[in-house]
Amino acid sequence: MKDQGGIGARAHRIGGVGRVTGAQQYVADIPVADVLHAKLVTLDCAHARIVSIDKSAAEALPGVHFVMTADDLPKPMPRFGPEYQDRPVMADGETKYHGEAVAAVVADTKDLAEEAVRLVKVEYEVLPAIHSLEAALAPDAVLVQDPAIRRPGPNVDSNILSEYHFGWGDVDAAAKEADIVVEHTYDWPSQTQFAIEPHGFIAAPDDDGIVVWSSIQHPYQLQKTVAKVLGLPMAKVRVFAPDPGGAFGGKQHTKLEPLVAFLALRAGRPVRLILTLEEAFQAVRRTGARIKVRTGIKRDGTLVFQDFENHFLIGCYADTGDRVSAKGSFLSAGPYRTPAVRIVSRSILSHTTPTHPMRGFGIPQVTWARESNLDEAAIAAGVDRLEIRLKNLVKYGEEHVPGDTPADGDWAQTVRKAAAEIKWGTPLPQGQGRGIAIGVKSGPTTGLSYSTVRFLADGSAIVFSGTSDMGQGARTIYAQIVAEELGISLDCVAVVMGDTAVVPYDQQTSASRSSVLMGNAVLNACRDIQRKLRARIAEMEEIADAAITIDRGVMRIADREEPLPVVLARVLGRMGGEVVGNGEARKDAIAEHPLGGTALFFEFNCTAVDVAVDEETGETTVLKQITVGDVGFALNPVQVTGQDEGAAIMGMGQTLMEHLIWGPDGRTRNLGAIDYRIPTSLDLPKELHSFSIENADGPGPYGVKGISEGSLLCTAPAIAAAVRDATGAVIRDLPLSPERVWRALKERT
């Protein structure tokens, strides 16, 4: 019921006013009685051996409670991580990246803690730091990780953390059939997630357990990790996860929470640690990548083979670096029908910030390479760049990775829509150019979400969901589903999130899964309520269950229709009370699948752009950016457009200006906003248009698919293609800064 804020309504964001007025309480704002303040002691280098730490002067400062070092933590140093348990609570004898904590100060105030940090004397020996693929793969390279903490395997004595081989067909045989073969290497720089709210943590002793606040995407994984590190039952670890102020993947997994928990336990009081933006840069980043692609086609543009060698430069601890390289690489060949594909993917350790997922999860890096190389092949063959894509695109229901989830949408419809909106084939003035690119990303490969919905006596409802609403608008989506299913208006629905002691388990908030998985759990909880109402009415009216249908908030018995709040009132009677529904949604793992499971759905996007290039300065202006996503069904069209535009702008920023810069010593040189530039409102494309293809063919409620990453997947190749179209300059590394474009213009042949 759209008019009541149900599905399909352009409902206002729940919590939106608080967010924009500053009323929302983030971890930094939450009042906690008796709270102490922590500050990290770090070194001005990446890789160092810690010789000694003298904390006496700092601890002598009035108001400073203590300085904690690795010596104060259990031996051996507790380690944790989502895939590999390799991350220490604090640097253990050696720092492996610029910004890794060697000590932490706890004081009465933030200012005192800062002052005390300057009084901690750390004697250390700077060691050579690896921050490039070449250095990491050199035969005599220093090993970033001690083989003793590595999983046994063929690469344990190298900086290769993991190596994956995917593919089908015989690439070497197919290569003989190709009329045109194009091979190039494409670089994607390391970047940072740049959530406006830097990470924040609080921990407080709680009787014989602990309470942890964190701006985190996966509170239940944090609960499990803290329990394991502290040796507590999960029931004694309560995680509050206040809605994060942006996350973009950078707040998925546990980072400094175990350290803050140890600080709080030692202090016997709550301890808060709020990172600065500079420290947030040192907490997480997106992995850079170098992708070598060889594409073989027939003269008419038909794909014969694709051959990839992908190297992802991950940080010093695995975090999700291995998963990003594997999952990103698995779909290297894209949404195309290719008879032979070979993919080798390696994640490479380095003395840099641990890599966390970021919007796109490795797919933007491989898409940048594949789509750019496909353009080069098309140009070499004299085939239109749109035509080569349409020619090779798989049809609805056709597999693009043999044996895996087939195309779950009419993808050609998406591509044709983008082409029509950019007016593909029409001429452009001198100095302007046009590009088009396609991105496809697997949604979650496994998933598990539970939800509880309480239908209260007055016909209002509370929905409990373990999703983190980090700005994507999950609260609003669940409330819309409840409003629709229980036949009530949106303002009668409250959404409770972010408390592991109260809200049932959710695996995680990532991979654009929540509308689908948690959405289904919420839907199933509503259906559970509907079933209970139906059973009770059947009893009361002495009719068969089957004679009653309930759909979208209305009960029907023969010709009689009754809104659910009325049904509820009858069922509860004078005693009142409530009806509670529980729902579950799962995507089971498949042990033998290389990714642990098939894609639940695909995010499919086509982006087309017109650019103008200033040939004197190399400056690129995006005149028009068209993004079209296959969304299944827009449960809230305003939010769908908002997410899509957000990803498109983020993609444009990552294409044109964003990159982390490391010094020869491995220090991150552009820490913070001054020298790491993201687009402002003045840097937006002159025109940005987002379109949705809706065929209600997704696995989520009412045919929903996840949509929050799509338009970031292929922005870079679309813009670079347009720059080439405008100027003839070919650029294979990012960002497309004016200086880089200017150099390419000088070098063009």
């Binding site: 004197e616 200006m657 530039r677 840097d683 800064s737 004016p738």
Partner: protein, 286 residues
């Protein structure tokens, strides 16, 4: 942030007295858009911060006195970018003021603070150099005027004694110069420039060029041959003259904003563009 004493004098005299008392342990706060960041990050740890915002003499912002435009030390960028006289007579200064920081910063940041901070990338330095601005410097014993070209020394350094302060910046109104400001940045929104550049021409055919962010301080250079200001001279004739004016550019090889080779190559591009705008403006006033 380290603790400091915060003082708020009501007069220039009082402020100068505080400077004399505390010497280099004191730091003046005008808009605070540089100072507060320095305090927060502990890059500066003054014992005393002297807030100038309540000093009546430093307001009103902008006035004409005889043949000078007086811009008091309390004048913020937002005042400049909107002021009718500035827009009419000194448009390049309005253009430079309009790109400093964001709207919020421009409502706070002062022109005098921008110059006294001594950043090689300060947006307002090149137009002030081109227009021949003078700094009005006060101490307990005297008030003196100094051309901005002598006042600006190098990164973070200006010719200001520990017991002195700038009370105003003055622009001569009897020397009509048609000028334009341009710059190069990494993005259109709030940014620090990798090149700042102002070009001014007068009716006698003299071209003044000031450029910053490509060396330790912004430089003022002149073409008195008349070639650059000559509307009949073509691109090929102007190019070598323009190139010679940028000979002293020495951009940092380690800057993250842009490489030195690129910056050097962009100077004549920006120079030619600003020159064209300046000539256009000269044509309109003639």
């Amino acid at each position: 942030m380290q603790a400091f004493r915060y003082l708020r004098p009501a007069t220039v005299e009082e402020a100068l007295g505080l400077l004399e008392e505390h010497g280099d342990k004191a730091r003046l706060l005008a808009g605070g858009t540089d100072l507060v960041i320095e305090l927060r990050n502990r890059w500066r740890t003054p014992e005393v911060v002297v807030d100038l915002k309540r000093i009546e003499e430093l307001r009103p912002a902008i006035r004409v006195e005889g043949k000078r435009l007086v811009i008091t030390a309390g004048t913020v960028m937002g005042d400049l970018e909107r002021h009718p006289t500035v827009l009419e007579r000194f448009p390049a200064l309005a253009e430079a003021a309009a790109v400093v920081g964001s709207v919020q910063i421009r409502n706070r940041a002062t022109l005098a603070g921008n110059i006294c901070n001594g950043s090689p990338a300060a947006d307002t330095t090149p137009p002030l150099l081109v227009y021949g601005a003078e700094m009005v410097i006060a101490s307990r014993t005297e008030r003196r005027r100094m051309p901005i070209d002598e006042f600006v020394i190098g990164p973070g350094k200006v010719a200001l004694g520990p017991a002195e302060m700038v009370v105003a910046i003055e622009l001569p109104m009897d020397r009509p110069i048609a000028a334009a400001y341009t710059r190069m940045t990494r993005r259109h929104g709030t940014d620090l420039a990798s090149i700042t550049l102002c070009c001014g021409v007068d009716s006698k055919g003299t071209t003044r060029l000031a450029y910053g962010s490509v060396g330790p301080r912004a430089l003022l250079v002149m073409d008195e041959s008349g070639v650059l200001a000559d509307p009949k001279a073509n691109r090929e004739q102007k190019a070598p003259v323009l190139a010679a004016l940028f000979a002293k550019a020495s951009p940092s090889p380690t800057s993250m904003r842009a490489g030195p080779e690129y910056r050097v190559a962009m100077l004549p591009v920006l120079g030619a563009r600003a020159l064209a705008t300046a000539l256009e403006r000269l044509g309109k006033t003639a």
